[in-house]
């Protein structure tokens, strides 16, 4: 445990010292204000459009973090043997992996805080600019939605560790991670569309079953209904929100446990 916290701090500093991190941080500060420009093109549901755009930008920034900061960091560690520096301290492999994971999440938090803060101010500005077209509790809806949208990305980060623990290098990690993300992104809404009787009637049953099975194996990125409801200022059921949070945290822990098991068995020489 004594080596765990320094590793978290080290990972945080390692990421924060990168130029890309600072660029993303600056971009997250500016982007919400730039999104007011396309928002102004709409007529009635201006607040909803702004929150849609903010949620989309949040997904994009989380992807940038996952693919361009988190994935290279952990893969480089294993591929180039940098992890030996830590493991010879001595540090248990499980502590090393959990420390790196916690460090990545810690490095993600300032980015999120800056983005949420800047977005909240942009929403308040929009509310003053287009009074009556932005819901009174739009800031609250956005902050709550942002918190829920981030959860599946914690699970995806854990999946990244699972992949990296077994992969031979960065290209392999990237290909598998991208495939998992693509499935997580597109499967839940497709399954949602299959709930419609007309679509279900025209789609072969085995495709539906196959998609359901694959979906059960992946973290559910299905924040589509959440983002739609919150953009329109509608309330979410308490039990559904608790279930949503629990399943993503459960998936995160499970994926990390599997990653630790794989990493312990991996030949690092």
């Amino acid at each position: 445990m004594s080596s765990f916290l320094p590793l978290v701090g080290f990972t945080f500093r390692e990421l924060a010292s990168q130029r890309i991190y600072r660029i993303v941080l600056a971009a997250l500060l500016v982007v919400p204000w730039l999104l007011l420009i396309p928002t102004s093109l709409f007529m009635l549901d201006i607040g909803k459009v702004l929150i849609d755009l903010l949620f989309t930008a949040l997904h994009a920034s989380l992807l940038v973090f996952l693919f361009f900061m988190a994935a290279p960091l952990i893969t480089r560690d294993i591929e180039q043997g940098s992890c030996h520096i830590f493991l010879t301290l001595p540090m248990r492999r499980s502590h090393y992996l959990w420390g790196r994971f916690a460090g990545l999440i810690a490095a993600l938090l300032p980015l999120l805080l800056v983005y949420i803060g800047s977005s909240a101010l942009a929403i308040v500005f929009a509310k003053n600019l287009w009074a009556g077209y932005v819901a009174a509790h739009a800031v609250l809806s956005f902050v709550g939605g942002a918190g829920l949208i981030v959860l599946p990305y914690f699970a995806l980060t854990a999946v990244l560790f699972l992949i990296a623990a077994a992969a031979t290098g960065l290209p392999e990690t990237m290909v598998f991670l991208f495939s998992v993300w693509l499935l997580c992104w597109s499967l839940p809404p497709v399954l949602g569309a299959l709930e419609q009787p007309e679509v279900a009637a025209k789609t072969p049953t085995w495709i539906g079953t196959l998609l359901q099975t694959v979906n059960q194996l992946l973290p559910d990125l299905s924040s589509s209904r959440i983002s739609l409801y919150l953009a329109h200022g509608k309330m979410l059921g308490d039990a559904a929100v608790v279930g949503y949070c629990l399943q993503h945290l459960g998936y995160t822990l499970l994926a990390m446990m599997l990653a630790v098991i794989l990493f312990k068995r991996r030949d690092l020489t």
Binding site: V49, D52, L194
Partner: protein, 234 residues
């Protein structure tokens, strides 16, 4: 060592149970349900949803921007000009991706109705807002179009009654519905209604309504009604 392994298995089982429970309770109500929203192939719909992924709202926003684009670049006029079909398709797509989006219904009335003259399609889209929106506005517009252009008073009265039930039903809605029910609606009411709709559209999209108002003012029925009113006033 064996104790640790057993502990890990127990924790893994607990996590699996938590995920399964979480999945079973985190069901947010489906957004699709109205059969009217399906107006293109199922594969197209699946593709649209797969592309939009976790942010279906942005796909609806993109469809609305595409509607502005189609309207700005319409070159052909006439009842079968392709832009009218494109407009209808994009409105349906936007509605399917985000049925709560008010701009879709406002553009349906303003562009699909008054510009593309697809009255029946416009009424269908506006009427399908009923389960999604807590607003009388689209239903009132649908009722007006059904009465004024489709000459279907039964449908108009049904839609007006639905509009009255909405929490934001205004005096105009109630008055319009009452006039329809009494079958006393005429030119004055139609012009007042169009006038009220005019100010909710941006200036560049007002030509269609202005043209309809001009047409109505110079119509034979309106002229006769004016004469009748001035005669009775004297």
């Amino acid at each position: 060592m064996r104790l640790i392994a057993t502990g890990q298995v127990v924790v893994a089982c607990l996590l699996l149970a938590a995920i399964a429970w979480g999945r079973s309770v985190s069901h947010f109500p489906p957004l699709i349900g109205a059969s009217e929203t399906l107006h293109w192939s199922s594969s197209q719909q699946l593709l649209d949803r797969a592309w939009a992924g976790a942010v279906p709202g942005i796909a609806a926003d993109a469809a609305v921007l595409e509607i502005f684009n189609i309207y700005a670049h319409r070159s052909q006029h006439g009842p079968n000009a392709p832009w009218r079909d494109q407009l209808y398709f994009e409105l349906r797509r936007a509605q399917a991706m985000d049925p709560y989006f008010k701009d879709v219904y406002r553009l349906t009335e303003g562009l699909l109705g008054y510009e593309a003259l697809r009255w029946q399609d416009a009424v269908n889209i506006l009427a399908s807002s009923e389960p999604w929106l807590n607003s009388a506005d689209p239903l009132l517009a649908a009722s007006f179009i059904a009465h004024q252009y489709l000459h279907n008073n039964t449908l108009a009265i049904r839609l007006a009654k639905q509009a009255i039930k909405k929490p934001d039903a205004s005096q105009l809605t109630i008055g319009f519905a009452a006039a329809l029910i009494r079958k006393q609606s005429g030119c004055k009411l139609a012009l007042a209604f169009l006038e009220s709709r005019l100010h909710t559209l941006p200036r560049q999209y007002r030509q269609g309504i202005l043209f309809k108002m001009q047409q109505l003012r110079h119509s034979k029925a309106c002229t006769e009604e004016r004469h009748r009113n001035s005669y009775s006033a004297e």
